[in-house]
């Protein structure tokens, strides 16, 4: 059984947002709602500046607070390690949304809560998630942590990576490479 994860190489992200549009079409995400976004943060004073482009999505945490908070079992861990929502069991109470430290969820107009599924309808048939497939910069890498030869396993071994909000103890499965060059200095 695979154990899925995503690695985001922020050095390669060009902020083009192709991932967002692909995700919205692939998953029929309603207007005004997002399963993935790209955050831009710039620090410094002109001309000594540094910019971060950070793709964000559900972290499919190993210790998922949304799963713990869900009173009906709608939010659950799958055997492949991803966090999924059984829409038929969701009562729309939003306990998961309050519990999620990453603000990754929204209430679908049909009444249930929704979020990134790691495109499990695609991974089941051997395709990468839609955001990964179209990522222009090749910034998003998806794969199986249980396969030591997968690209993601290899890259995780080769790079120092971080996760978002490690202090909350969620053990995210979305990892980031973010070594930036500083303008005017060696990278």
């Amino acid at each position: 059984m695979p154990r899925y994860a995503m690695l985001i190489d922020q050095r390669r992200c060009v902020g083009c947002m192709a991932c967002i549009v692909a995700c919205k079409n692939e998953n029929k995400v309603p207007p005004g709602m997002y399963r993935t976004r790209v955050a831009e943060t710039t620090a410094g004073i002109f001309p000594k500046l540094r910019m971060e482009l950070r793709s964000e999505l559900c972290n499919h945490c190993d210790h998922a607070p949304c799963v713990d908070a869900c009173p009906t079992g709608a939010s659950h861990k799958e055997a492949d390690g991803s966090v999924q929502i059984d829409k038929s069991r969701c009562v729309g109470c939003k306990a998961c949304m309050a519990a999620c430290p990453y603000d990754a969820r929204y209430v679908h107009p049909d009444g249930h809560v929704d979020k990134c599924s790691f495109c499990n309808h695609r991974t089941k048939v051997g395709k990468a998630p839609a955001c990964v497939e179209t990522c222009i910069g090749g910034s998003r890498i998806f794969g199986d942590l249980n396969d030591p030869n997968s690209e993601i396993s290899r890259r995780l071994r080769e790079h120092h990576v971080r996760v978002l909000l490690p202090e909350v103890g969620t053990k995210p499965k979305v990892f980031y490479i973010n070594r930036f060059s500083t303008p005017g200095q060696e990278g």
Binding site: I20, K24, E40, F46, E133, T134
Partner: protein, 731 residues
């Protein structure tokens, strides 16, 4: 780094809160299309994108007759299995409820928005009658075509067939013209075969002069750019704005706007004086080196530092990095280069630098266009125009695409003869040409303004007759010859049948030509049969082409120079021209010299503009999917300048230009990412067309503020970064 829990920012997007699509919208329609359950029919159609003009191969996923997803075609070298956000959002164009759905004929006075729907037959008959009447009264040359995109070609045949030479493309004068002319004067050809031939993945150094890759989104070029960054290519970005590309740069040179040529000449100075150029290449392939070396002697780094507001050490250091990595250096030639009216010489300086580094035809530089021997179809014998064209405007080095501004000038003046009909195919002239007041004045002189388009743009809403074209997802077009490092043939074929009463461009042109007695120049009624015959003539299996969307063809030359793959320079001498006798003969500098451009006065800001990766020109602001993410532009203001003016981030302001033109209100993006003597807008917003329900009145139209433009005396293009604005706080 702490992530604010509610800090899911949308990059560059204006937070639009509840102002998203009204209920239903695209998502609703998509779901409706998906509810076929077990009976759903799913099929894939490979075709070619036209959300911009990179023309990526795509595969449309069609469920129960509705396009639900667009993916990049992995076989096509201009997409390699990926599509950008705009390409993904082609569905938004296809199902945009604001599309032109049927022909319209103007009911009221021009611009008052009153139209009556008409049948195709009536609209075509009236159009043909008007064209015939204008041709009879003023001569066929009084009919001008403004063209952009694939469909323009069909109307070009119509206008040529009528006997008019006045066919022009804004992509020259308002975009790539200066670049192409500068490189043609140097190398005998442009650095782009539609797509720039930049070998980024093999570059050791990449230099971007104002080119904002990433924000300026061209699929495979940006794929290559990201790959190059990941490979550790040294990136030097020259831009007064901290662009996304600048944020990835080893060296960001925040140059004073308008002084790029000073930097380029001083780089050439260092590279020559320190002997860092490719001596063998220069000796073998170039002419005029001595004159070049003599001319640039005065352009020292110390001098350039004063002009550019960069440090002398930074100029020397970057020049040495560029020189030391010769020839694997890509001086990116840029794309939109209509900046200051001296742009051909800036392009010349970039081309000369490329030549000195020996990077033309070398790995990591500019690769050579492949030759692909494809049998040519006999050219139709169009009638000779009785009078000379007006598209060159008297400028000596205008490309065949002509000058939109020259046609506009002739229309206003009536000299050398009256221009009485404009045919606009996919061109939104009020947002494309500088000084829309002049465009309106010219339209006022016309007996016929005909628009062929998919969307009711501001310019379409001035038209007398509007003919609704099918989007690229609903139509076939002529075969595309793709020239990347490999060559191939791509096909556009309809993913779905035309919606509403829209028709493919080739059909519209054909129907008009039948009524004008020009059938011999028209596309055949059986368009698919023609494509099949053409493919077969090229030795391509048509069934395989329709199935794969792209088929490679044999090439007879390679991308890099070797003893067996020698470059051919289409210049008079057959050499790379460093000092141009041709330019000298016309009274211009044979080697580029620096010309200062006027700088803003105190309190004024130079108006700069650029791109969003989610929008193409002014074409996509109403696209529901793209509008959701970026619904309006913001005006970027340097933090210190904003502080002086008391303008807070997110506040609404108005811009007032040097001629008193006052803009729509626009939100301030107060940022460190810009020099403080300029402001920056993403182009393409501020539509006034009431039929564009999402884009109407959203953001500011930069072109409205570009009332001044500097015409380049060499290529005739319109430099548009010569306007200055003051900022008014909105109460």
């Amino acid at each position: 780094m702490a992530v604010n829990r509610r800090d899911f920012l949308k990059l560059s997007a204006t937070v639009a809160g509840g102002s998203m699509l009204a209920g239903g919208g695209i998502a609703g329609m998509l779901m409706a299309g998906d509810r076929g359950g077990a009976a759903a029919t799913v099929h894939s159609v490979p075709t070619v994108c036209e959300m911009c003009f990179w023309k990526c191969g795509l595969i449309a996923r069609v469920v129960n007759g509705r396009v639900v997803k667009l993916d990049g075609n992995p076989l096509h070298p201009q997409s390699r299995g990926k599509l950008c956000g705009r390409g993904q959002a082609g569905i938004g164009l296809l199902y945009d409820p604001d599309r032109l759905k049927r022909p319209f004929i103007r009911g009221g006075v021009r611009g008052d928005g009153r139209y009556r729907p008409a049948s195709w037959n009536e609209a075509l008959e009236i159009t043909a009658d008007k064209l015939k009447a204008i041709s009879a009264k003023y001569g066929p040359e009084s009919i001008a075509l403004f063209s952009h995109g694939t469909s323009g070609d069909y109307f070009r045949s119509m206008v040529k067939g009528m006997g008019s030479p006045n066919i022009t493309f804004p992509s020259f004068s308002q975009c790539v013209g200066a670049r192409n002319v500068g490189y043609e004067l140097t190398f005998g050809e442009s650095p782009a075969s539609s797509c720039e031939r930049v070998d980024l993945t093999r570059s050791k150094v990449i230099v971007l002069i104002g080119t904002h890759l990433g924000e300026n989104m061209h699929n495979t070029q940006v794929q290559d750019f990201a790959e190059a960054v990941a490979n550790g290519a040294r990136l030097i970005v020259v831009d007064p704005r901290f662009s996304t590309a600048a944020a990835k740069a080893h060296s960001w040179l925040p140059i004073r706007p308008g002084s790029d040529t000073a930097l380029l000449l001083s780089w050439i100075n260092v590279i020559i004086s320190e002997g860092l150029y490719d001596k063998e290449y220069v000796a073998r392939y170039t002419e005029g080196f001595a004159e070049l070396a003599q001319t640039v002697r005065e352009y020292t780094p110390a001098w350039a530092a004063r002009e550019t507001d960069l440090s002398e050490s930074q100029i020397i250091e970057t020049a040495r990095q560029i020189g030391a990595n010769s020839p694997n250096v890509c001086i990116h030639p840029g794309r939109h280069t209509s900046w200051y009216g001296n742009d051909t010489q800036r392009a010349r300086a970039m081309a000369i630098l490329t030549a000195l580094l020996g990077s033309w035809g070398r790995e990591g530089g500019i690769w050579l266009a492949p030759s692909a021997p494809l049998a040519k179809s006999p050219a139709p014998e169009f009638p000779e125009a009785a009078r000379p064209d007006v598209i060159a405007g008297g400028y000596p080095f205008v490309g065949g695409e002509g000058l939109t501004n020259a046609v506009r000038d002739a229309t206003i003046s009536g000299n050398p003869y009256p221009i009485k009909a404009w045919i606009m195919v996919g061109t939104n002239l009020l947002h494309t040409l500088p000084d829309p007041r002049q465009t309106m004045a010219a339209i006022g002189k016309l007996d016929l303004l005909l628009a062929i388009d998919v969307m009711p743009t501001d310019s379409v809403m001035q038209a007398d007759i509007i003919l609704p074209e099918s989007s690229y997802l609903e139509r076939a077009d002529d075969l595309f010859v793709v020239k990347q490092k490999e060559a191939g043939i791509a096909i556009r074929q309809p993913a779905v049948s035309p919606l509403h009463e829209s028709k493919p461009g080739w059909w519209i042109a054909r129907e008009l030509m039948l009524r004008l007695g020009l059938e011999k120049f028209a596309q055949p009624a059986n368009f698919e049969q023609k494509l099949k015959a053409k493919a077969e003539k090229w030795g391509i299996n048509f069934a395989a082409l329709t199935k794969n969307g792209y088929i490679p063809v044999r090439t007879t030359s390679g991308p890099y120079i070797s003893e067996s793959n020698q470059p051919v320079f289409g210049t008079k001498s057959g050499k790379i021209v460093l000092a141009s006798a041709e330019l000298r003969e016309h009274g211009f500098d044979a080697v580029p010299r620096y010309e200062k451009v006027p700088q803003p006065e105190t309190g004024q800001f130079r108006l700069l503009y650029g791109r969003s990766p989610l929008h193409t020109f002014s074409r996509t602001a109403n696209n529901p999917q793209l509008n959701e993410l970026v619904s309006e532009n913001e005006v970027w203001i340097n933090s210190a300048a904003a502080s002086r003016l008391g303008i807070g981030h997110g506040a609404y302001v108005r811009l007032v230009n040097q001629d008193g033109v006052r803009s729509n209100r626009v939100r301030a993006k107060v940022t460190q990412r810009l020099r403080d003597e300029c402001i920056y807008l993403v182009h393409g917003f501020g539509s006034t067309s009431p039929w564009l329900t999402k884009a109407h009145n959203k953001g500011v139209n930069d072109q409205q503020l570009i009332t001044r433009y500097a015409v380049d005396p060499i290529s005739g293009i319109t430099g548009m970064r010569v306007n200055f604005v003051t900022i008014e706080k909105e109460a």
